[in-house]
Structures are given as C-alpha cells and as structure tokens.
Symmetry: C2
Subunit: 374 residues, 2 copies
C-alpha cells in the first residue's frame, strides 16, 4: 500500500480522517506549515513539532537551486537534512518557477528558466520534477503542472489544463511507488466548472494517492474559490485525501473544510509571524502598534505556545520595535500554533457532528475589521 | 546577606566557587551570555537555559532607551519580561553611552547624551544608573563608571579612575541592598599598576559584593590585559567574586581564569553565531565556506546542542547561504554551548587541581591559524 487514508467521521461534506504514511500519521483536516528552503522560517524543527504540526511542506524550486536535490539525497534526504522525521510534502516546482524564476520559457515538454539566486539556467519537466522530489525523499510528491494564471479565458484555461493533464500522466509514469509514500495529481481548470470536471476525470483515470486543487487563491476571490470547490470536490474520489493548495486565511480554511477539503498549506502564519501580525481568536492585529507597549496580557490567553505562556504582548511589541530575531521566532511559533489549534477544533467538531455551529462560533468571534483584538 | 560567595577549590591563583543569589546559584568561573535588549539575540530563553548558562547580562543603556526601565518595572521586572527567572547582571550604561550614544557630554556629575535610536536626550548619573538597575530588578548591579579609553596618558588614566571612584561611592550610596542581590564596583586605571592598586583600594574601602575589572579588552592587547590582571587581582578581596568585563575569546578566558577571574561576559559567541563563525575545540571556522556544502559531519562531535546533534555542517552552511534565520539561531546556540562547556571544563580542572595541564591541552588542540577545523 502506498498511502492509506481512512475517513473516520463525516459532517456534511466535511470529513475527519487519518492519512498513514511512511513517516507517521497525519490527522485531517490538516494545515501544513511551509518550510520552503529546508526550514520553516525562524523555527527549529523542535519548535515546529511543538506547535502540533504533523507534516511540513518543502519547495522543489528552492531546494533544487540551493542546496540542490542530489546534494540533499547524498546527505540522506530532506527529513534528515532538516531534522523533520515526520511526513513532508513537496510541491512540483511548477508554481514557483512561474512566479519567481527569470526568463521562463514554457514548452510542451517543460519549462526552462534562470535561477533568481544566481541566474544559472535550469530545466524542469514532469520527469525531472518527479525525480527531484524522489531525491528529496518526499513523503507526498506533487505532479508537475502549470498553475493557470487568473483571469484566464476559457480557451487559455482549457489549453493550460490539458497541458497539465498530459504532464500529470508523465509525472505518474516517472513516480517510483514505495510503501507509505504517495503522489497527488492537481486539478486545474480555473473557475470553469466543465474544465474542473474534465481535469478531475483525467486525474482519476490516471489514479493518484491524493488529489489537489490548484489554480485557486490566485486572485479570484473567496466566493469564486468556494464556488469552484463546490463544483470540483464532487468529482474527486471520496476515499482519497483532497488538498487545496496555497490556502489560506482561517476563514478560507473554514469554508474549504466545510466543502470537503482535507489538506492545506499557506505561508500566512509564518510570513505574518515575521511581520508582527498575530492571529488570535478575535482576528489579527499588528504587534508593532504602540498600544501594546504596556500590555501585560498574553497574546492569546489559553494558547500553549511560549509567546503566550512565557511573555506579554508588551515584550513581543518590544522585540519587534527593537528588531530582535526572537520576535519573528515567537510570533511564528504562535501563529502556527493558532492554525494547528484551529484545525484540531475543526476535526473535533466534525467528529462531534457540530461543524456548522463550530464555524459559526468562530466567525462570530471575529471582529468586523478582523484587525483588532477583542 | 546580600550575596554569598563560597570558594570551593583553588588551583594556583584560579578558584572554583558558587555565588548564591536570590535567583539561583552561579557556578564560577562563569561565562554570561549577553542579552542586550531583553533577549540573547536569536535565542528563546529556554534555548539559553539549555546551553547550561546560569546568568545572563542585560544592558542598561539599551533597556533605558527601549522599552524603558519604568516600563519594565511596571511589567514585573526584567526576569519576567524576558522569561529568565535566573540571575541577571546589568551593566551601568556607562560604557555603552560612550560607545553608542550621540552628542555625549561628560561632566563631574554624570553624562548627558542623545539616544542612537531616536535622538531623544537622556542623562545618566551614578544615582540614575543605580535606580534603573533597581527598576530592572538586576540580581547584580554594576557601579556607574567611565571606561577609560585606551591608550590613556598616566594623567588621563588617573583623572578618569578618580572620577569613577567618586561615582562608585555615589553608586553605592544609591544602591538598595536586598537579600540575594548585590552590587559590584569596577576597578579602572588603564594599564598602570599603581592606578589599578589605588582603584582597588578605593573600592575595598567602599565595600561591594563583588569587584569587576573594567577598561580592558579595549585595544591594549592580550599580554597587557594579562599583565594588568597580574597586578590588579592581588588587590581584590579573596572572598568576593571577580569579574573581567567584556572578555573574551576562549584564549583570553583561559589566561584570566588562571589569574583568578571568576566571571566573564562577551558578545563573541552570540555575534559570531549570527555571522556564521563557529567555535569548536580546534579553533573557529566560517560556515559560509564552500567546503562545508557537502560535509555530513556534525559541527562538533560530542556537543549536546541541537546544531550538533540534529544537523550536519552542510545544513548549517545551507542555512547561512540561504540567509535563513535558523542559521544564526542554531549557531548561536552552539557557540554559547561551547563557551558553557569550556567553563565547565575549567571548573572541573580547578577542582581536580589540574588547571595548567587542562589549559595546555586545550591550547594544543587549537590549530596555529585558529581559523580551520582539525
């Protein structure tokens, strides 16, 4: 068995499950912190574990450029390299080539580009992306695709989706199955229901251990994203995990979980942690704000992270004002913990059959502006 | 009793002791990591504790400017603010006013200066420095002094030392004695034996819980520093701790411990940790060097820190090349651990009566250049 997935409870379209991998179990719905370059920024691996995270994401594009996939393989793989023995999902590199690399040239076979780091020339194809992820020893490998830009005309979206489906076939052929490892295909098709349905059907025909929904959270807006989930999720196998790539805010996650999504990744909690933006049950706020200078209260009462149990908002404010590295470290720790606790609450609510009420309570706790603490 | 100090073993001029404080014991000789602005840079307080550090240093100058001494007092003191319930020593601010502040104007009563942060005007006197350290709740308060610049003519050094001795008297008068707290006087006198002797005598007449040697490691060179220790230490009370301020390299520490110094502080391990410079038994080296890119070995075999037990030199090299914050965090952790283990080794050697041989072994382990690992 490559990857086993068991749905333990359902509540409407939402599911609670466990994905068993070679590197340990993943309770779903799950949020995966992003560890782009072999590190969840500002965090030790022990700190990431302490947040409750069970799986982290690595970026193929960054790692292939630096330190290099073959080098990581020689050093024993990404798990050992970054001290994360748990599951790791790697993206295919396709999205970041198109958003970060220079002089990109896409052809039917793949993409040629120059490194944003040193201008060196590289090429990614479905075969090479899959090989790199194998060298990294990714627990979950993603098929190489083109993330269709938004907006796209129906013709553009169809051509892009069809290219991605051809690449998905080649990615699958290049994948080396191993016990406890798996590969996910990625549904494209922009916001067009018929294209999404065709894409999902194409991926089902190939057969993957899981199915991702790509090309969302790229500017279409939350309602269009939810609408696309509504027309896409029914076309995905019920017994396989569903992964909404690059999403999102807590509110995005609530809506997507209710629509049957099992897996999420996003840089929001880590990036916000480095820019003084705190996620708390009442919304978000910026710790640089002067009103926190004398605030002896914890960032979030009841949160088990060290930013909340050991320090005051005043201290965190001070660290950001003084530009001390500990500020981003503590706030990233908190924000990831917040997202992990959000997911744990959703899982519990699904098991209890009370997801709708739980989501309503969470949303009611947010202030309108969602920028100020209660 | 304000601070009790027990010498447990002697080996030549060197001593091993325990300083009992309101915030816990300190085994001497001790190295104090520097936590300038309420944080040992790049480290959580838990991480600092994990290195074996028993006491950290805080900088009065930085803390008075930001977040402010009265604010820290309102928030429960520096221990609570930075989550360090152990002993904290604060400097008097005098040294950093003269090295960092703008438009400094020194008079017989104190120093007026402008903040290097926002240009705001401030004044430090012996009374205000002592009050600030009280507000911070410093376990060990330092007398306010002028760190005599190097070089200084005999007349300059004498005038500066005499000013510091008048300020020491005023600092002592302003100090509020409490159980388990103490105040240290600071010997000045540049490299002039007669001035050092007079300064030490003046401080003994006042009477402090400990005695620091200031005005060294300011460009005079290691031999002149050691020579000054040789002529100064004999004038200090044998039953009180001796603190060599701002020192230093491992080699400086070996020589100073052998000359009877009990306490040290220096930014070397933390600053080096942020600039990729690693301290190991064979010397130091820079982790950015390309030869570490494929080095699967730990930074230092046998070191218990996470940089060494969890990762390879290749990973640390990668983190610094990719400018990931985890690089400074892990290397600072290692370097402080290295200094703590260095001190533990010195304490054990003193107890065993084998300090000279121990120091010879350590020095023999260093390569000539002290820039390359064995």
């Amino acid at each position: 068995m490559t990857l086993s997935f068991a749905v333990q409870a359902r509540d409407g379209a939402a599911r609670r499950g466990v994905l068993q991998t070679a590197h340990g179990p993943i309770d779903t719905p799950v949020f995966m912190p992003v560890g782009t370059a072999g590190t969840v920024k500002a965090m030790t691996a022990d700190a990431v574990r302490a947040t409750g995270a069970q799986i982290v994401l690595g970026n193929t594009y960054h790692l292939m450029l630096r330190p290099g996939a073959e080098r990581i393989a020689r050093l024993g793989g990404l798990h050992r390299f970054m001290d994360w023995p748990g599951p790791i999902l790697t993206d295919s590199g396709g999205f970041q080539v198109m958003s970060l690399a220079q002089l990109r040239k896409l052809d039917a076979d793949g993409v040629t580009f120059q490194s944003h780091i040193d201008g060196s020339k590289h090429r990614l194809t479905p075969e090479r992306s899959t090989e790199i992820q194998h060298l990294l020893d990714a627990t979950i490998t993603m098929a190489f695709d083109e993330c269709t830009p938004f907006p796209a005309t129906p013709d553009q979206a169809r051509d892009s989706m069809e290219l991605s489906m051809r690449w998905a076939r080649r990615s699958r052929d290049a994948f080396v199955p191993r016990d406890g490892y798996g590969q996910f295909g990625i549904v494209q098709g922009s916001t067009y229901p018929d294209l999404r349905a065709r894409s999902a059907a194409a991926l089902r025909d190939i057969g993957f251990e899981g199915y991702a929904i790509g090309g969302l959270a790229v500017g279409e807006g939350q309602q269009a994203m939810f609408d696309t989930l509504d027309v896409t999720v029914p076309h995905l196998p019920a017994d396989r995990p569903r992964y909404l790539m690059g999403v999102g805010t807590p509110d995005d996650i609530l809506g997507a979980v209710a629509r049957g999504i099992d897996m999420f990744d996003c840089v929001i909690p880590t990036r916000a942690g480095r820019t003084a933006r705190a996620y708390v049950p009442s919304g978000t706020f910026n710790l640089r704000n002067a009103r926190f200078a004398d605030d002896a209260a914890p960032l979030e009462a009841g949160c088990p992270c060290p930013a909340c149990t050991r320090h005051s908002r005043a201290y965190l404010h001070h660290l950001f004002k003084a530009e001390e590295m500990l500020g981003p470290t503590l706030l990233t720790w908190h924000n990831i913990t917040y997202f992990q606790r959000l997911m744990a609450g959703l899982r519990a609510a699904i098991s209890a059959g009370g997801l709708d009420a739980h989501i309503s309570r969470l949303r009611a706790g947010w202030t309108t502006a969602r920028e100020e603490p209660a």
